[in-house]
Amino acid sequence: MTALVLLELQKIFRKLRTYIGFIAIGIIVPIVQVALYIEGEKYINFATQNLKQSFMLVGNLLNGFLIANIILQSLFIQIPFLIVLVGGDLLAGEATAGTYRMLLTRPLSRFKLITSKFIAGIVYTNLLILWLAILSLGVSVLIFGTGEMIVLRDKVYIFAEKDVLWRFVLSYGFAALSMTTVMSLSFLFSSLVENAIGPIVATMAVIIIFLILSALPIDFLQNIKPFLFITHMTEWRAFMVDPVDYGSVVTSGLVLLGHIIGFYLITLYLFIKKDILS
């Protein structure tokens, strides 16, 4: 299985589309960093103007942690677009290219093929989140340094410098779980069709529809909100408040994990029964 996963990763990383996500993050994050480097003080003054009426704020507030948090909040809805470019192509790409025929006439079980591709998809997703972490947190800390982190939510949280890093580690970890859910959904759609465009559009359509449904202030929709996986994808933000609601984090984590396993099992079932006509 390890050899198969490595083969799948070779295939993924020899395709140009794989690098679109890395390039996009590699362009957007530095642009945000440069913008905040130039006008960050204005941003801080605006964000803390009410706070400054009662408190005197000292130290390096425009630091790498704050920048990383801003970037993570801003990009989190866009990252799925980058994930599905690869996730939607994992199976449909083989159908489009006609290479299913070559693969499945080898002594290779469909279970192994699907599982190795799925694992390769998870590896890609996690590498993309790691890349986001390196650029948004690592590079930001190098440029802006460290300090206490201000988080503006329903309340204002100020975290001591030593109390920040673990929050980011868990946030990125949870973000990886969320993005793996997106990848799994696009992987499922990818098994149904013979062209990667369909799964990419379908996955994004599901995410956008769920986002709209969960944003509408209608009781019925608010009642179904806990059952939409999109609701749980932003739970990484729970690590940026104090105290962390671990009960909610675990629930959301289990919901996302359930979706990942469910999407994988459905894909496996459909693919094993599928007639290869491409």
Partner: protein, 315 residues
């Protein structure tokens, strides 16, 4: 005459197909198909486009599941022992498709690793040399012509030294030189490497040249099956005689021993069904009776039959 090795060697069945049927909603692509392929056969699987050849091949390679019927390969049930069977089969299904963004040798390496076979550069280069692609081993497949992809398709089919090679119309789209190279390679694999070959084609001539046994299918069912040489030698010719004086010729024939061989009149041609040795005899008969012959065109009735079903399938 080509040696019919399946008669000389043991009669071990390599492929046994019984009652094979595949239905797609309202369409029956393959209907109750029966066939046997023996060790050492070059088995021609003939039929017009849409006859069910590719569907049958996809079932033999377990790409699609039969609706009914059984397939045994190497004496094993394909449903139950798929992986064991596929270890001993190499195949091309329709056009050979590869990862276009990878080189020829990288494609083979990936497919070889999946087959758990030797993927050393030496072995891969041997295979590429066999199909005449050794100089392009490091070129991306997207730069390959159709003929080169066909040859690379054969290379991947041979990679793990299979006992049975299944080829689905391997000469489609090739130029005459390419067709000859592929045919020569198939004959080499059969004669020198003792491979059993299952060759699908919609060209009777191709099967005549390469195969020792054949089956013709149409609309998913068996039409004719047997040894190519036997089918062709037992086969009568449909012979068209173009004559100057049609009425005199007909009158002459009706009062002669040729009356039973006479079939019909078409414009200024008379059509007879004759054994090969009878053709010059009838020609001589006409000349001796002052009937001028403009042309004599013999066609095997098997060929006519095949043309008829081919035309029927196009309509």
């Amino acid at each position: 005459m080509r040696p019919l090795r399946s008669r000389i060697l043991d009669n071990e069945k390599i492929i046994e197909v019984h009652g094979l049927t595949k239905k797609f909603k309202n369409l029956t692509a393959v209907n109750n198909l029966e066939l046997n392929v023996y060790r050492g056969d070059v088995f021609g699987f003939l039929g017009p486009n849409g006859a069910g050849k590719s569907t049958t091949i996809r079932m033999l390679l377990s790409l699609i599941q039969p609706t009914e019927g059984t397939i045994k390969i190497f004496g094993k049930d394909l449903r139950k022992e798929r992986l064991e069977i596929l270890k001993r089969i190499g195949g091309i299904v329709e056009r050979p498709d590869f990862y276009l963004y990878l080189t020829a040798i990288k494609n083979l390496e990936i497919l070889g690793k999946i087959s758990e076979t030797d993927v050393s550069k030496k072995r891969l280069m041997e295979i590429l040399e066999l199909v005449g692609l050794e100089k392009r081993y490091n070129s991306k497949v997207k730069t390959f012509s159709h003929g080169m992809k066909q040859r690379l398709g054969l290379a991947q089919a041979l990679l793990h030294d299979p006992d049975l090679i299944i080829l689905d119309e391997p000469t489609t789209g090739l130029d005459p030189q390419g067709i000859k190279e592929i045919r020569d390679l198939i004959i080499y694999l059969s004669k020198e490497k003792q491979k059993t070959i299952f060759l699908s084609s919609h060209i009777l001539k191709e099967v005549q040249i390469i195969a020792n046994r054949m089956i013709i299918i149409n609309k998913g069912t068996t039409q004719i099956e047997g040894y190519v040489d036997e089918l062709l030698s037992a086969d009568k010719f449909s012979v068209s005689f173009e004559v100057n004086n049609l009425n005199s010729a007909i009158e002459l024939v009706k009062n002669s021993k040729w009356q039973n061989s006479y079939k019909e009149k078409l414009k200024n041609e008379l059509i007879f069904e004759l054994q090969q040795e009878e053709i010059p005899q009838l020609n001589k008969f006409f000349v001796e009776n002052n009937i001028e012959i403009n042309s004599v065109i013999p066609t095997r009735s098997l060929e006519n039959y095949f043309l008829k079903i081919t035309e029927g399938s196009r309509e």
